[in-house]
Assembly symmetry: C2
Homo-oligomer: 394 residues x 2
Amino acid sequence: MTDGGDQPTTSYEFLAATLANHAAFVHVGDRADDDLRYLTRFDGPDRQYAFVAVPGGDGPQTTLCAPSLFGDQARREFPGDRVETATTGRPAGERAAAVLDDVGVGGGGNTTVAVPSQIPHDAVAYLQRAGHEVTATDAVERARREKTAAEIERHRRVQRAAAVGMARAETVLAESAVDGDRLVWDGAPLTTERLRRTVNAVLAGAGVDPVGNSVIGAGRTAADLHYTGDDTIRPGETVLLDLSPRGPAGYYADLTRTFVVDGGGWDRRAYVACEAAREAALAELAAGAGAAAATVHEEAAAELAAHGFRIDSSEVGFTHGTGHGVGLSLHERPSLTGDATLAAGDVVTVEPGVYEPSEGGVRLEDLVVVRPEGYELLQPYPFGSTPRRRDLDG
Amino acid sequence: MTDGGDQPTTSYEFLAATLANHAAFVHVGDRADDDLRYLTRFDGPDRQYAFVAVPGGDGPQTTLCAPSLFGDQARREFPGDRVETATTGRPAGERAAAVLDDVGVGGGGNTTVAVPSQIPHDAVAYLQRAGHEVTATDAVERARREKTAAEIERHRRVQRAAAVGMARAETVLAESAVDGDRLVWDGAPLTTERLRRTVNAVLAGAGVDPVGNSVIGAGRTAADLHYTGDDTIRPGETVLLDLSPRGPAGYYADLTRTFVVDGGGWDRRAYVACEAAREAALAELAAGAGAAAATVHEEAAAELAAHGFRIDSSEVGFTHGTGHGVGLSLHERPSLTGDATLAAGDVVTVEPGVYEPSEGGVRLEDLVVVRPEGYELLQPYPFGSTPRRRDLDG
């Protein structure tokens, strides 16, 4: 980790309830598993390692079975009780079963071990072979919802880096000249890929990782929620930039703005509608903890409908939800379209958008933290569909 | 996909042998699962989707159960037979079971479905609930070994981008001045994090993603195989850069060089030894397909031992293997320390290195393709521990 400040840590108290009903909690995965990242705070390699928790007198007793050659790093990063390296080379599920055996959680057929539902099947097979029964728990997903101050600080920093990237993109668009039916910047036609590379270089230079998430579309492809192709950018077209870099401790940003050079038609009406929907969503979030997540979405949708956009299609109009939780995963709990009640520490996107495949798409997205009495916008970024030169200092 | 050229595709013929003994093959995962990326060529979202193959008259019949809102993208990217979107919203394992039911692979208790061992456990539970027995296969991992011409071309391009990043790093080091016990570049002390951000910006600007894999250590931390911290870079210290960006179609680069400003002690001896070990490894690879992978490692290790370095420790000397396969995963088959026989189309690293925690570390790593009669180095990069200004054009 490279940018100073408190490292987010994990309190294992949340596992106590699970361990009251189960002999142990086990998870296995590799560096791509965000539940395991939360449980271990270990930025591990691309092969399996294991986390084990058993009940103890002072709360859950936790072990990380570190991968071969990564013992020192695991000891630096793991906030739990013990890093085990004696059994490297054996499959992670087998290593977890050996830890249970060591601490006397025998596989007599009468022990149940709680695991996340997405644990690799081979790990479950090793636990079952050792005599354990396995039941799924969503305890980790639930615990990950409530962000600590250190986690929120990480979101703030990476969202700040995303804003610096957005400012660069907006500046490029502001500096672009109309040349017939295309934009030209710095002597060459501006394309979505050229703009993406320019933005990604700024993100990487700011110490965050684009991780393939810089979605930039223009015109028809602005209506594509995950566009990473290469198109000429034309005057009058909506240029939609959705930047979701990942910061050093693993937390994501999520920031979307939409610009038009020489706009004024469909895009103007769509932009005004999205701004109104954003205000409507934030007005619901102003209630803070205890608000029903779904009402945030419903108010945004009602506002878009009032502006004449469809909200009942997966192709045209408001085709997606108003927001989702963000953390060590880009998409996590809570969803603003589900039945969750918002809680203090939830970090969620607010992202109304409308799409018309023949015209383009407009989306405006920010990241907010739910507070007991309201919400906090993590990193303001200006609005306006006409791009301006911006100087947000990294 | 953004950089032109043939997109790598997947021929499903390799599943025919599995489907001769099983009623179906199923995999479930999200965008982080590289087996699923290979099976679908779909750059999907961070939630589960499913791939299903059943036997057919003309070979395996394949279905991708696409996630909600991603149907169009899935249809563009999936080279198989059918993209299914009717059941979005249901768990991916349940959707896979529904596909089997649709095509008449009933769950009468007599059908076995082959799955990769790391398939999420909940997907297996859905298949079992539908009456299927599940057995693990490594067919996908085996198929992924042999890279096609289009895949090798992707490796070549991303390795080229890594070389451009390395040239930038080497140039920064060459331009740095010694100021007492530290290096100064462009008016400020040079640190590992500053160098990392500079390199990552070049990688991102070249259209590839650093994905948190730019390992840069100096002195003691050059002996750390996964160092991403921030240290002042000092004269006389080994500066080790291991760059593994991921290219647009998902293929990885892997390139390591080591430099010293004002070196001449331990580092000189280590560098000479690694160069000799590299030559010894390549001499074995010159036999091409059919060579025993382990002999490549053994010859490199013998050379390092002949130069006086330990090869029997996990802390000092040559602490790791000589190489590993690279593809859609940064580490995949074959390992150069296992019992594999090299085959045409294997893409492997050659990366001898020696470490002395009190001194630093030296590693030299390149990417090669095994050919029927030898090997091909994918992207040459110059050697030499004294950094020079390099102008490798992106």
